[in-house]
């Protein structure tokens, strides 16, 4: 059974890759671009899901770490580092921030934690906007005369839209793979136990503050990954891209799609990123104006009628050993 499911997934990824290639051949760059964008959001949503979906911590400032990833990449790239060198450095930097900022928060109750993370998110944005010496303020990075170097892979320059899409697809697949493994280990079970009942989890010998911090820190890996790719892909970062409502947008994806379920998350992203773009083409620009209104309404309705999301979490049956 397991094998079959895996084959199906690989088959599906290949289909997406092929379809994207067809779009590329037909010069539908916009659709390829939207696919890449959805990929970035999947990375972010996967990271956020680790905190909200598995561990049950509502994080309203997740976008700040995406910003740290993107900014550190832009800074390093203009200093001459290559993408492959930046990737681990940025991830490390982002995780270090996440760890240090997260450490004092682990004692806080859920709703307070949400508000404090919101505060961190806004402080980060204000610092990006005001610390001109480092971040160049609202003017964004790279500065005049600097550029973000293109990504090279085996002396092959990634510069077309489709190559970025493949890069993103690769990282999305790798992330899903890694998250599955974590999910199916004692660490993943500890995350969920904390979400289900923190006091009981602690009574079962789980060091909840430590595990929560672990979840918090691991999630930053995906934020950093998304940030680094974004900076290289778009070639420009500025504070407008990292507002509070962007964090809310992400929370929306996770909640609507299905907390704790990877397929649900992907579905949430498609619903919130892909569908509006799809409708923009078919129904015209007017619809796009109403999308945030609709998402807000959907969030309320879903929490009341179907709090588990469109595709709810499903616990995997373990193979029994008697």
């Amino acid at each position: 059974m397991l094998k079959k499911a895996k084959l199906l997934e690989i088959f599906f990824i290949v289909i997406i890759a092929l379809a994207a290639y067809l779009l590329h051949l037909k010069q539908e760059f916009y659709l390829v671009h939207i696919l890449s964008l959805a990929g970035i959001y999947v990375l972010l949503a996967l990271g956020l899901n680790m905190v909200i979906g598995y561990t049950g911590l509502l994080d309203l400032g997740f976008i700040a770490f995406y910003a740290i990833g993107a900014y550190s990449a832009a800074l390093l790239s203009s200093k001459g580092f290559s993408f492959w060198a930046i990737l681990p450095i940025s991830i490390l930097i982002t995780c270090a921030f996440r760890f240090l900022l997260g450490k004092p928060l682990m004692r806080l109750r859920g709703d307070y934690l949400a508000i404090v993370t919101l505060g961190f998110g806004e402080i980060t944005r204000l610092i990006l906007n005001n610390w001109d010496a480092l971040t160049n303020g609202p003017k964004g990075l790279p500065r005049v005369g600097e550029t973000i170097r293109p990504i090279t892979l085996f002396s092959f320059h990634l510069n077309s839209e489709i190559s970025y899409f493949y890069l993103i697809l690769f990282f999305v697949a790798a992330s899903i793979f890694a998250i599955r493994r974590i999910e199916r280990s004692k660490i993943g079970r500890a995350f969920v136990a904390i979400r289900e009942d923190e006091i009981a989890a602690e009574a079962m010998g789980i060091n909840t503050s430590y595990i929560k911090l672990l979840s918090f820190t691991i999630s930053a890996v995906f934020a950093a990954l998304a940030g680094v790719i974004y900076a290289h892909w778009i070639g420009f970062v500025s504070p407008e891209s990292f507002s509070f409502w962007e964090s809310v947008f992400l929370v929306c994806m996770v909640v609507l799609g299905g907390m704790g379920n990877i397929l649900g998350i992907i579905f949430g992203v498609i619903l919130l990123v892909g569908l509006p773009e799809f409708l923009r083409i078919t129904l015209g620009g007017e619809f796009v104006l109403y999308r945030m209104l609709l998402f807000g309404l959907l969030m309320v309705i879903m929490t009341i009628l179907r709090p588990q999301g469109i595709i709810p979490e499903k616990r995997r049956a373990l193979e029994l050993k008697d």
């Binding site: 806080l108 709703d111 949400a114 204000l126 906007n129 509070f244 929370v251 807000g296 969030m299």
Partner: protein
């Protein structure tokens, strides 16, 4: 650089700002007291209140009768706008929070964020994405009290806020309904057993909080001169900070927190940096929540687990 040309006007500005924060934070603190939830959508009620006030003001100002009678104009604008905001607040509770009362605490918060997103976009789409200028009803007159200059709008805002806060204190402590609110706040189950209709009390709390938030919205419009669909967020988060600073769930605490935050922010903007002025509020919020989550006047030592 304790320059009196700066420090006194900044203090007056801080107190005015603080009065507005205090009014808004009452809504957060009362709701938290009763339901232990952060009413994230309260900030949008402030925004909505400001818009209701704007409509009423522009409508009434068409009549010469009101133009000549400032007191009557303000009374009717404030009362009507309070009613509408209050109903909006109670309606949000009824539709978006009440069905979630039995779930874990994050669900109402997520729902509240949804409401917030919805209301902001509703106002943006139906009215305008642009800032709307607020009519100035007051002649800006400066008064000199010793070394302190204070203008008519500032006096008005401070008086109105204090009036409402005193009225609320009186209502909560001295009336039967107020005592019922207090009882519900201290233990909702016991209050139910005592025969209090806790659902109506909760609606009432939302109504009062929202009505005061609506008043604050109008005051913001009057003080700063323009309002906008996304103005609520900043005031909301700062008022929440004020509530936390004073001790969430505690009405006098919210007032104290509001005034402190207003003054801190005003002085911080003047002496440290105006670009970072919003950062101060967030830093206070984070520090208080981490190191003294009970706030300055908070009683709740530990939550029941």
């Amino acid at each position: 650089m304790a320059n009196s040309a700066i420090i006194f006007p900044e203090l007056v500005n801080g107190i005015t700002l603080g009065a507005i924060y205090a009014l808004i934070s009452l809504g957060y603190t009362m709701v938290y007291g009763v339901l232990l939830m952060i009413n994230f959508a309260h900030s949008e009620i402030v925004m909505a209140g400001a818009f209701f006030g704007l409509f009423l003001l522009s409508f009434f100002l068409k009549f010469t009768f009101f133009q000549n009678n400032l007191l009557l104009l303000l009374t009717s604008v404030f009362l009507l706008s309070m009613c509408v905001s209050g109903i909006l607040g109670a309606a949000i509770e009824r539709l978006a929070y009440r069905p979630l009362r039995k779930t874990n605490r994050l669900m109402p918060l997520i729902s509240a964020i949804g409401v917030s997103l919805f209301l902001q976009n509703l106002f943006m789409l139906t009215l305008s994405p642009e800032a709307k200028p607020y009519p100035s009803v007051f002649p800006a007159v400066n008064f000199q009290l010793g070394a302190v200059t204070i203008n008519s709008i500032q006096i008005f805002i401070i008086i109105i806020s204090i009036l409402f806060m005193v009225a609320l204190e009186y209502f909560v402590n001295r009336t039967k309904l107020g005592v019922a609110i207090k009882a519900t706040s201290s233990d909702i189950e016991t209050a139910k057993l005592m025969g209090i209709n806790t659902n109506s009390i909760i609606s009432l709390v939302f109504f009062i909080g929202a009505a005061l938030g609506g008043v604050a919205g109008i005051l913001v419009g009057m003080y700063y001169g323009s309002i906008k669909y996304n103005m609520g967020f900043t005031y909301g988060i700062k008022a929440f900070t004020a509530a936390v600073l004073g001790g969430i769930g505690n009405i006098p605490g919210a007032m104290l927190g509001g005034f402190m935050l207003g003054i801190l922010e005003s002085l911080g903007a003047a002496y440290i940096s105006s670009a970072y002025k919003d950062v101060f509020a967030f830093i206070i919020l984070i520090l208080v929540l981490i190191f003294k989550p009970t706030g300055l006047l908070g009683e709740r030592a530990q939550d029941k687990c």
